[in-house]
Symmetry: C2
Subunit: 365 residues, 2 copies
């Protein structure tokens, strides 16, 4: 019975996808006499927590059992502590899927509830709850964004012809899944060459009210207002990551003043992980890496990816000059190659997605 109600709480939590980052996805269910009294979830960043929503929706939470997918908070953040409200509401029992991953507060909420005489059970559908919030768990611990790599490739592993023609390799169903990823992650990152070749808008088509932040890795500041990502920056979500050498250039100033572009700069001594720390400090908990070849290769080389999906279409270029989705390694033995782990195969008609994770299982995208 605990699993049944927790499953419902997990599904409630998923309703917050695209709206709560960098907060966790949290769902809650209030149950009395094995009947659901109310359901609720954390709806948007900075808004009331799931526990608050579910208690407010119930007429009389007294003596109820509360199912919640993450340990209730016990501290003042953007909202008052949930533990206070739970105790005040005279809830009898609290079933928690998983503890707060932040070592500074983990277990404190549970302790407060127990001290108030509330029975607490921890660990119901814990694995599922951890997979649900993989992004949050990584970000809260490491303060760098969760990195998810997406590539749409031919059967021979290419993302474009030798002349950079790439539209379209994958089919509509596969590309539509990419839109869902754009809604799920806080930001998208591409290399400057992808902007120059494809001039993408990098908007999210499945949820037009929620565009991700757009990051261009552009060391030499080669992009310009000729491209949509700069020219159409009304929402001011475009960031350029460039060498600090460009700070004094006229283009740098122009892009800030006229196009509201924001910059993240790095020195010769800083590496990709340093850049990710800077992005993390901006409240960005997750990034979808959309290419091109050089950017994807860097994330693999630095071993800075957490997961990804490589979508394969039944097309072949058969050209050694075409652009590979990944390059720069030299394994001599077949076992020295990169072996992707925790694979889930996704079918998009005759296209196939290889979803992979360094740890754990699927994100709820």
């Amino acid at each position: 019975m605990h699993n049944y109600f927790m499953e419902i709480a997990l599904n409630e939590a998923k309703k917050g996808i695209g709206s709560v980052n960098p907060n966790p996805l949290v769902g809650a269910v209030l149950v009395k006499d094995n009947k659901i009294i109310a359901v609720g979830y954390h709806e948007f960043y900075g808004g009331p927590h799931a526990e608050v929503n579910v208690i407010n929706k119930s007429k009389n939470p007294e003596d109820c059992t509360l199912y919640v997918t993450l340990e209730p908070c016990s501290h003042h953040g953007k909202t008052p502590p949930c533990t206070d409200l739970i105790i005040k509401s005279k809830i009898k029992k609290c079933i928690i899927a998983t503890l707060d991953p932040n070592p500074l507060v983990s277990g404190r909420g549970v302790k407060q509830l127990q001290e108030a005489g509330i029975e607490v059970i921890i660990g119901v559908l814990e694995k599922e709850a951890k997979n649900l919030n993989k992004v949050f768990f990584k970000y809260i611990k490491e303060k760098i964004p969760y990195i998810f790599i997406k590539a749409g490739i031919t059967l021979d592993g290419k993302i474009a012809t030798q002349t950079f023609s790439s539209q379209w390799i994958t089919n509509f169903l596969a590309r539509n899944k990419v839109e869902k990823y754009r809604n799920f992650f806080s930001g998208i990152l591409v290399g400057a060459n992808t902007i120059l070749q494809d001039n993408p808008s990098l908007r999210c088509k499945v949820n037009e009210n929620r565009n991700p932040y757009r990051f261009i890795l552009d060391k030499d500041l080669v992009v310009s207002d000729k491209y949509r990502i700069i020219a159409n920056n009304e929402d001011q979500k475009t960031f350029i990551i460039t060498s600090e050498k460009n700070i004094d250039s006229a283009k740098f100033q122009l892009l800030i003043e006229k196009f509201s572009v924001k910059f993240i700069t790095f020195s010769e001594n800083e590496n990709l992980k340093d850049i990710l720390k800077k992005i993390g400090s901006l409240n960005i908990d997750s990034i979808l890496i959309e290419g091109g070849s050089g950017v994807i290769s860097s994330f693999f080389k630095e071993n800075l990816y957490d997961g990804g999906e490589i979508m394969v279409a039944p097309k072949i270029l058969g050209d050694s000059l075409a652009i590979p989705f990944l390059n720069g390694f030299s394994p001599l033995n077949i076992d020295e190659g990169i072996t992707l782990k925790n694979i889930k195969i996704n079918l998009y008609d005759n296209n196939v997605g290889f979803e992979f994770y360094k740890e754990g299982e699927c994100l709820p995208v």
Copy 2:
């Protein structure tokens, strides 16, 4: 009801896989008062036809309905005409999935049955029957073998590292499917370099009594008795396809005399299709192309393939010097690449097979 019994006949036919080439797979069912009296199939090359087997297995075929997946023969071949036996057995009705593809005899069997007063229905599960015998249909019309290409590749389209390490890219389930293909097709063809690098035996592990013919495309006669395919040629099924320039070489004579190797030679003016005609003239109705890169590329370039399966493993080499499964094309626009058609996706745990056909649907492998 016709579909039901014909489905059973089609499944009977499949029991002949690996034993009947270059004859067709044929199954038959005898039915009386909607009950199955007997089932039968063409069991081995040169043996009795399905119609003969099913009639011989029934005690009293009189007034029965005969379901047969291919038009009964009306001519003397290795066995007497089936039409004679059907008529003699006083069968009342004959349901045929598809006509004989040989234009010289197609429809003749039907005509003989009708003239004897037997009711004939043609076209029940015709598409399925044609897919079942795609190999036979092509071979009987064009006299060149049906060509099926197999490759086991990494996610970035490679069949080996730059030092030719390739064992193993795909998993056991995928490799086991290859064994089934080796049982299904009459022959296997590989390039000389595959012999030199991998020293494969090219035997069929799922059916040890039935090894396919082994063809090595070796223009310059570089293979030798150092390799298993030559040294272990007890069944005398190894063929080397080489330039006629090598006929007078000592190695040519040695391989014939000491290792019972057979040769197919070609001149400067002959192309891959000419070679396939020579193979076809040896009663070889179908060939599984197992690589390497050069051989697979040639079959794609000459457009001489009928179908294939590309098996993809979630491994990445990320090395532009690694060996691609296909090379030699230069498409500039993404739409100028090769688009595989009639795709069936096969799952082998976390490996994925892209099965494809120029025409029609899946072979019954």
